[in-house]
């Protein structure tokens, strides 16, 4: 069998949070234009706080510097960037 390439806890993930999805989609569009990888992701509950927006942008550690630089330059609206240990685990086998 082939083991999935597994990200470990050592990897850092960055979630960009928004007040609403319009802001989120706008930044997603900007990052796409600039060719910086980011994926739309449901906001993890542990960092969502009082925000009612379900979407966030998931950025990997290797891309976060480019994202920050891009945000600096193009000044899109966003709420915050949260760094956390990678909690994605394809071997958990807990579904919903």
């Amino acid at each position: 069998m082939t083991e999935e390439k597994r990200r470990t806890e050592k990897d850092r993930n960055y979630y960009i949070l928004f007040e609403n999805y319009t802001h989120g989609l706008a930044l997603d569009k900007i990052l796409k234009e600039e060719g910086i990888p980011a994926r739309i992701a449901p906001t993890p509950r542990s960092i969502q706080g009082e925000l009612s927006c379900g979407m966030s942008l998931l950025v990997l550690e290797k891309d976060i510097a480019a994202v920050r630089e891009c945000i600096e330059r193009r000044k899109p609206k966003y709420y915050s960037i949260v760094e956390m240990e990678c909690q994605i685990n394809p071997n958990r086998n807990v579904f919903c």
């Binding site: 069998m1 082939t2 999935e4 390439k5 990200r7 007040e19 609403n20 999805y21 989609l25 997603d28 796409k32 994926r39 739309i40 992701a41 449901p42 906001t43 993890p44 509950r45 009612s52 379900g54 979407m55 966030s56 998931l58 909690q87 994605i88 685990n89 394809p90 071997n91 958990r92 086998n93 807990v94 579904f95 919903c96």
Partner: protein, 423 residues
């Protein structure tokens, strides 16, 4: 800013219980979907829809209702969306695919009812899904005994219209289904206050045909030797197709298909070479049921096609667009829908032919025949499915499962062994 909590409250939902589902979804979606590498960019749309799953589309539907449109909730690929759209109504799928809703269903249903029915009834009665709250009318159908009786229970809580499905495919059964569609049109007209005219129905037929063509384009891309998309991603697209606006759905699927075609031209694949190709056949996988795809695709194989209601049965065969009278159109609709091969028909040899054909078209190395627990018609038909595949020299694994996580390890062993068996 969209405040969904207010919307859910207005819908009379049980917020506290609903929140439990909202809590686990990001983790499960992360494990299953975001763990994948090199996904098509176009999947961003569906990732977005999942992120806002009980918010964005429900708020669109509520907005439409404020403008006088009616929402019809359906549970089966035999119910013709075209008729609803022709009367300026909206269709939304209502099948429950999570264990979260099952205990609610078990309050009123026998334990040995299939999880799809239990989850659907639970989602309504426990008030934990906005789509089940929003729909003005549920449209049922007599595909199986479990559903028939469940609709009677639901009808005590919400208006339900049940279409009487033929269970054989004789000429008179086609006529009967055309007649049922005509009766349904009458119900829809009454609910919406709008007339179904030949012009409007012709337009609706085109809309849904376009959606079918777009879904098919994505599926066709999965026939490529180098798979440009995972089975999981294709499944997500398919599951959400039941809930989305059909025109937008077609647009997004076409966009994704364009990207996949480009990937095929560039030789981009999301799986390593030599990954075994699996055709899934059997009972539907309603959202968010991603268990089997995930287990298969983390065990060294890829799902290349689903011969399921959440799969080829949803988009194969188009409705004849040349009819200009309602009578001709109802007949054309009946002809298309009756081509679907559900295990509720007897005999149902057409499904066996479909499975063998799809296994060849999608170059499947093996077939996994999935049966949702207590679905006796698909379970029994599995006898013919497995026999025919063995005769055709195509390895097959029969699996019975439900929505719980508890059999994940056992399924993994079975599926890994099956993949090892494929060599």
């Amino acid at each position: 800013m969209s405040d969904y909590v207010k919307m859910w409250e207005d819908l009379g939902m049980d917020l506290e219980t609903h929140d439990q589902l909202c809590q686990v979804l990001p983790t499960a979606f992360g494990d299953v979907y975001l763990s994948q590498e090199n996904r098509p960019e176009g999947m961003g749309f569906w990732d977005f829809v999942v992120s806002e799953i009980h918010g964005i589309r429900p708020s669109e539907l509520i907005e439409a209702q404020k403008n006088g449109q009616k929402v019809f909730g359906t549970f089966c690929v035999y119910v013709p969306d075209e008729v609803v759209i022709a009367a300026n109504g909206i269709v939304t799928g209502l099948c429950g695919g999570s264990q979260f809703w099952v205990p609610g269903g078990e309050k009123v249903l026998p334990k040995n009812t299939c999880p799809l029915i239990k989850a659907s009834v639970g989602a309504r009665l426990d008030r934990t899904c906005p789509f089940f709250r929003i729909a003005d009318m549920y449209v049922g159908e007599t595909t199986c005994d479990g559903k028939k009786k469940a609709y009677e229970i639901l009808a005590e809580d919400v208006p339900v219209h049940v279409m009487d499905m033929p269970q054989m495919k004789r000429a008179e059964d086609y006529d009967k289904w055309a007649h049922e569609i005509e009766l349904f049109a009458g119900v829809v007209e009454e609910q919406t206050g709008n007339k179904v005219t030949p012009e409007k129905l012709a337009e609706a037929i085109k809309i849904i045909n376009n959606k079918r063509k777009a879904l098919k384009r994505v599926y066709d891309a999965r026939k490529a030797d180098k798979l440009p998309i995972s089975g999981k991603d294709a499944l997500l697209m398919m599951q959400i197709a039941f809930f989305d606006d059909p025109v937008r759905c077609a647009e997004m699927c076409n966009k994704l298909a364009d990207e996949l075609d480009q990937r095929i031209a560039d030789g981009v694949s999301v799986f390593p070479e030599g990954t075994k190709r699996i055709l899934l056949t059997g009972t539907p996988l309603a959202i968010p049921n991603w268990k089997l795809h995930h287990i298969i695709e983390t065990s060294g194989a890829a799902v290349v096609c689903e011969e399921m209601c959440t799969g080829t049965r949803y988009f194969e065969n188009l409705v004849d667009e040349t009819q200009t009278t309602l009578e001709g159109q109802y007949k054309a609709l009946a002809d298309r829908y009756m081509k679907n091969n559900c295990a509720c028909f007897t005999p149902n040899e057409g499904r066996i032919d479909d499975i063998i054909r799809l296994a060849k078209e999608y170059k499947a190395d093996g077939v996994i025949d999935v049966n949702l627990k207590f679905c006796s018609i698909y379970d029994t038909e599995g006898f013919f499915v497995e026999r025919a595949l063995k005769e055709a020299g195509i390895p097959v694994l029969g699996i019975e499962t439900d929505y719980t996580d508890s059999d994940a390890e056992q399924l993994k062993t079975r599926i890994e062994a099956f993949i090892e068996m494929l060599g």
